[in-house]
């Protein structure tokens, strides 16, 4: 039977190709998932252990299971002196030893500054970074810089550079610095310090200085690295080590690093990715089931003949299963090969390197076994029902012409289960939405204490509804297609024929449509959710801030401000001097304000999104907000005058503010947060600054952003403005635009990732559309020939197939988009109501793009079957059955 099966397979090879492709894609996805996680693990492990450089042994802490505070303190506050390095060096077999110290430093060359990470110098093979030009520091006052920092500061080997403590909280005045000589440039090939952008190497005295101690021996050292030869007296080393530490050899240290990683759960990422692989495989299963259905139907004659000459039912059953197994095996093997090829190309292309990861292709048994096992299993499972129908062929069928259509209606059980799921899911979702609504209006609801449960209920409800719809697709999808088809049929004879063909086999049409529906719905849900998130976030931010973008700092210069104001996308800006002042509220609390000088209310109108009617800036008034920006409490000024004092009580921003006092009448307007650092931002007449009554301790540039009108992205505007102020380290650019940009980037990134993963399933579904079409063409050979014989041109036949493909793809596509948008709205409502008014957008762009792609793919899918259909000569219609 096996050889017969293989012969039958060879004959139907063309039919099996699309199904094979579907499995191939699924298997490749799973293989790539494992390969990806292997590579990430490997890269992270190498990164972890690369920090040990060429050391043979190192010292790790050895604390008891539940250490006391005193013990921990002692273990973690060791200094270099505690390790007795000089005495260790004298021990037999110790070729080198280096204490492990680190710090943040600030490097300056004239007006150029840079901050970075630094380690102490030592033997070359105990340094985790390599020196590529020049030498490592040896004597005092020597430093080796990372190559890119040297470029940034315009330094070369032999130049001098100022090294100072890198504590970023310190002010940017002229802090203590030591002039050091650049002895070499460093590179970080193993990405040990990828997060910090490389590491400088400091001579020991500089390390002591940067750590704020007098001598290197007093610097806090977390460990020491040892370069040993084979005959080392490790016992002697151990005797010299401080308490709560142990000597560990390299192999052991690597093993510990690996253990800590796997416990960290890169397996979580693997599981996440694998779930998408399962989705892809499920969709592929639908394609395979369709294929085998037609395969068996086409083969009924042959199978009946086999039965007449003595084949048993069971043999036919096994034959179909074997065919499925062979197909699954072949396709999975090819899929694994494809996955390995893709991953190898990815590693070689250096894309990973740009993210700081050194990627290597790592093969493991899971890469091979899991996809192949799943591929074969899925294929065999999907072919089960067709195998059963193969045994239903009676020997008599060999002797009479048979009708190839399968107009079986879907089972009643399935219908009931689907109905229960739909109704139950809708009820669950409805309940959770109601609870959410109730809680928003301020009343008591489950949401208060059991938000997670309510959220889960809504997600579960939606999932149930979705599952129910998919199960019952055999009922409603053909109906939907019939409705749409009836409309389309009016378009011409090709469309009429296409519509009739779709009605012929409701089960197959439903399976194909369902496959596409799954992918499209998921993509639409994510896209809608992401769009809603962005819009809701944007609206929430806009309502909390009154100004789009604020640049603020002590060392902002007029020139920088002008440059920033000219950035493309900035549609208005106001430059104002600022100083910090305080006033006492009615209830005795002190209000810290940033007071800004402005010429007139008109210039405030230019940039502020607030209702400033009736506001006038003159020398007797001060404009204040209605609420405290930090606490949200209302600001009440019942007196007609308030006294503003410049704050001289230790505020770092006002180092040279003279003790000025102003008495002004408060006028309040409802504007929101402008700066997050102060309780309020107040506006007074700029004359106070120009006349000298107040000294400006800094400047503020308020900007209105209109990126769309200028045709640039928010990101561009933000980056350009930041660049205008790059020379002044004390200037921060903030505001809702900046925050919004950060959110949008993050959301877009996540969306791209998720959509990319689901796109695999959509791709397989489109392969399914092509498959269904080619199967239909094969089934309809006689009919196509008849139509050609009675006057259908080749062009009309091709068009009817194109219309069929479009109907299949677009009806399920649009249904998926609508469903996905609904789920996305529900999800957004449940999650984002807590943050503000939820937006219910319809992602025209994203959905339109997806439907467009589906339509184009459907048209492409119809090309090959159409060619096959028109190549059938009309004479075939006259051939005997």
């Amino acid at each position: 039977m096996f050889s017969i099966t293989l012969k039958l397979m060879k004959k139907s090879a063309k039919m099996l190709v699309p199904a094979g492709i579907a499995i191939l894609i699924g298997a490749a996805f799973i293989a790539t998932t494992f390969l990806f996680s292997n590579t990430m693990n490997d890269s992270l492990i190498r990164q972890q252990t690369a920090v040990y450089a060429g050391a043979d042994a190192m010292v790790l802490t050895d604390l008891p299971e539940h250490p006391t505070d005193a013990q921990s303190d002692e273990a973690y506050s060791r200094t270099v002196a505690d390790y007795h390095l000089d005495r260790i060096r004298t021990i037999d077999g110790v070729e080198g030893v280096r204490a492990v110290t680190a710090t943040n430093i600030r490097l300056s060359n004239g007006n150029h500054h840079a901050t970075g990470y630094a380690i102490n110098t030592g033997e070359t093979n105990l340094l985790p970074v390599t020196v590529i030009h020049g030498d490592r520091p040896v004597d005092n006052r020597e430093v080796a810089l990372p190559e890119h920092i040297a470029k940034q500061l315009d330094l070369h080997v032999g130049d001098m550079v100022h090294v100072s403590r890198g504590n970023t909280a310190e002010s940017q005045g002229s802090a203590d610095s030591i002039e050091a000589r650049v002895t070499g440039l460093t590179d970080d090939p193993n990405n040990v310090y990828a997060y910090d952008g490389g590491a400088s190497i400091l001579s020991e005295d500089l390390m002591a200085f940067a750590n704020g101690v007098a001598d290197f021996n007093q610097v806090n050292a977390t460990s020491i690295y040892l370069d040993l030869d084979t005959q080392t007296d490790t016992a002697a080393i151990k005797r010299l080590l401080p308490r709560y530490s142990r000597l560990v050899n390299r192999a052991e240290a690597d093993r510990l690093a690996v253990e800590s990683l796997s416990a960290n759960g890169t397996s979580v990422v693997t599981i996440f990715l694998l779930s998408f692989g399962m989705l892809a495989m499920l969709v592929a299963a639908l394609v395979i089931a369709n294929t085998f259905q037609v395969l068996v139907a086409q083969r009924r004659r042959t199978l009946a003949l086999l039965r007449t000459i003595g084949a048993m039912k069971q043999q036919l059953y096994v034959s179909v299963i074997i065919e499925a197994a062979v197909l699954g095996l072949l396709a999975s093997v090819l899929g694994v090969a494809l996955g390995i090829g893709l991953m190898a190309a990815l590693c070689a292309s250096g894309i990973m390197a740009s993210t700081g990861m050194d990627a290597r292709l790592v093969l493991s048994w899971q890469v091979f076994v899991v996809p192949m096992a799943f591929g074969m299993l899925m294929t065999m499972l999907a072919s089960l029902s067709s195998a059963r129908s193969a045994t239903a062929v009676t020997p008599l069928e060999a002797l009479r012409p048979i009708e190839l259509t399968d107009t079986r209606r879907a089972g009643v059980v399935r219908g009931i289960v689907a109905a229960i799921l739909c109704i139950g899911g809708a009820a669950l979702t409805g309940f959770s939405i109601w609870q959410m609504r109730v809680s928003i209006t301020g009343q008591d609801s489950l949401v208060k204490d059991h938000y997670a449960t309510v959220l889960l209920m809504s997600i579960g409800g939606c999932a149930m509804v979705f599952l129910g719809l998919i199960l019952s697709a055999a009922f409603w999808l053909p109906l939907l297609m019939r409705g749409v088809g009836a409309l389309v049929a009016l378009a011409g004879p090709s469309a009429t024929v296409a519509n009739a063909n779709i009605q012929k086999n409701p089960r197959r049409v439903a399976a194909t449509g369902a496959a596409l529906l799954i992918g499209v719905t998921l993509v639409a849900t994510i896209a809608t959710g992401a769009t809603s998130a962005k819009q809701t976030m944007g609206a929430a931010l806009a309502s909390r801030y009154s100004v789009d973008m604020i640049a603020f700092g002590a060392d902002m210069t007029d020139k920088q401000a002008t440059k920033a104001a000219e950035t493309k996308g900035i549609s208005g800006s106001v430059y104002m001097p600022t100083t910090v002042m305080t006033t006492t509220m009615d209830n005795g609390e002190t209000l810290h304000m940033l007071v800004a000088g402005v010429d007139s209310a008109a210039s405030l109108h230019k940039v502020m999104k607030a209702d400033l009617r009736g506001v006038s800036i003159d020398s007797s008034h001060v404009l204040l907000p209605q609420r405290n920006a930090a606490s949200g409490k209302e600001l009440k000024f019942n007196v007609s005058d308030i006294v503003l004092k410049s704050s001289a009580d230790g505020d770092t921003d006002n180092a040279n503010g003279a003790d000025a006092t102003l008495t002004l009448k408060p006028q309040q307007s409802d504007y929101r947060r402008i700066s997050s650092y102060y309780d309020a931002v107040a506006f007074i007449d700029a004359k106070y600054f120009s006349d000298g009554d107040l000294t400006a301790t800094g400047h503020m540039l308020l900007m209105r952003v209109d990126a769309d009108a200028a045709g640039v992205t928010l990101n561009d505007v933000l980056t350009n403005v930041q660049q205008a102020f790059s020379a002044s380290t004390g200037v921060t650019v903030s505001g809702p635009v900046a925050e919004r940009n950060m959110w949008e980037t993050m959301i877009n990134g996540m969306m791209a990732l998720l959509v990319g993963l689901i796109a695999v399933a959509v791709l397989i579904a489109l392969v399914g559309v092509a498959n269904t079409l080619s199967l239909s063409v094969i089934e309809r050979t006689r009919e196509s020939a008849t139509l050609r014989a009675i006057g259908m041109t080749r062009g009309q036949l091709r068009r009817s197939l194109a219309v069929e493909a479009l109907l299949l793809a677009l009806v399920s596509g649009v249904a998926g988009v609508l469903l996905g948008t609904l789920f996305g709205w529900i999800g957004s409502y449940m999650v984002f109501s807590l943050y503000g008014t939820v937006a219910f957008p319809f992602d025209w762009g994203g959905n339109g793009l997806m439907l467009g792609i589906a339509a184009i793919a459907a048209l492409i899918a119809s090309i090959a079957p159409a060619r096959r259909a028109v190549s059938v000569p009309p004479v075939v219609a006259l051939a005997e059955a």
Binding site: G791, P874, V875
Partner: protein, 263 residues
Amino acid sequence: MTFTNPPVPPSPAIQAIDLVKDYGTGSNAVHALRGVNVSFERGKFTAIMGPSGSGKSTLMHTLAGLDSATSGHILFGRSDLTKMNDKQLTLLRRHKIGFIFQSFNLLPMFSAEQNILMPLTLAGTRPDRDWFNLLVETLGLQQRLDHRPNELSGGQQQRVAIARALIAKPKLVFADEPTGNLDSVSSAEVLTFLKRSVDELGQTIVMVTHDAVAASYADRAIVFADGQIVADEAHPTAEIMNNLLMAERERATQAAVPARHAR
């Protein structure tokens, strides 16, 4: 002596001139048609008979433009079918030539009425309702118009097929063994209808058949053997046709047998 002008034969509906059709090449070549010359009169019911493998079906296929000829000409009206491309031939089949197949070849997903109107649907033209009603009445299909083919008997299906062939008022109708899949009662029905459409509706029908009884309904019967016409009977009856066929078989057997006798 009175000179009367010889009667001018009416121009034939379709005419084959030196038609040759070969399948395959070299020593394996099958010569299905060996230089056939025949013309079919308008408004007449002609039957083409012959044993299997004689080439009668091939003759019909090539005459209808469903298959290409190796050499020769086919004149249909004023056009030469051998010089037409696929699109022209398709349009011809849509408007000018009708088909009736042995296995009915109705489109299973359309109703009887839609099947009948299919050639017009493909052309995008509106049906002539009077003509449609006449056909349906003549063929007795009024009760069956909404049914799908699998809900019709064999005879009914073939009648639907006949209506489909006639709906576009073609110049010529080809029928390939129309009664081959029918019982004797349905066969008689179908043949009667075909004859009526020739006599009453003025159609021209060329029928291929191996059934002498079916040939007896025709106005003229041609016997085909080995790719050539071997007999042309003006008023066929079942008996005459049977005799002709038997004679042909005898001749064929004799041609094969002398090889044995010679030994």
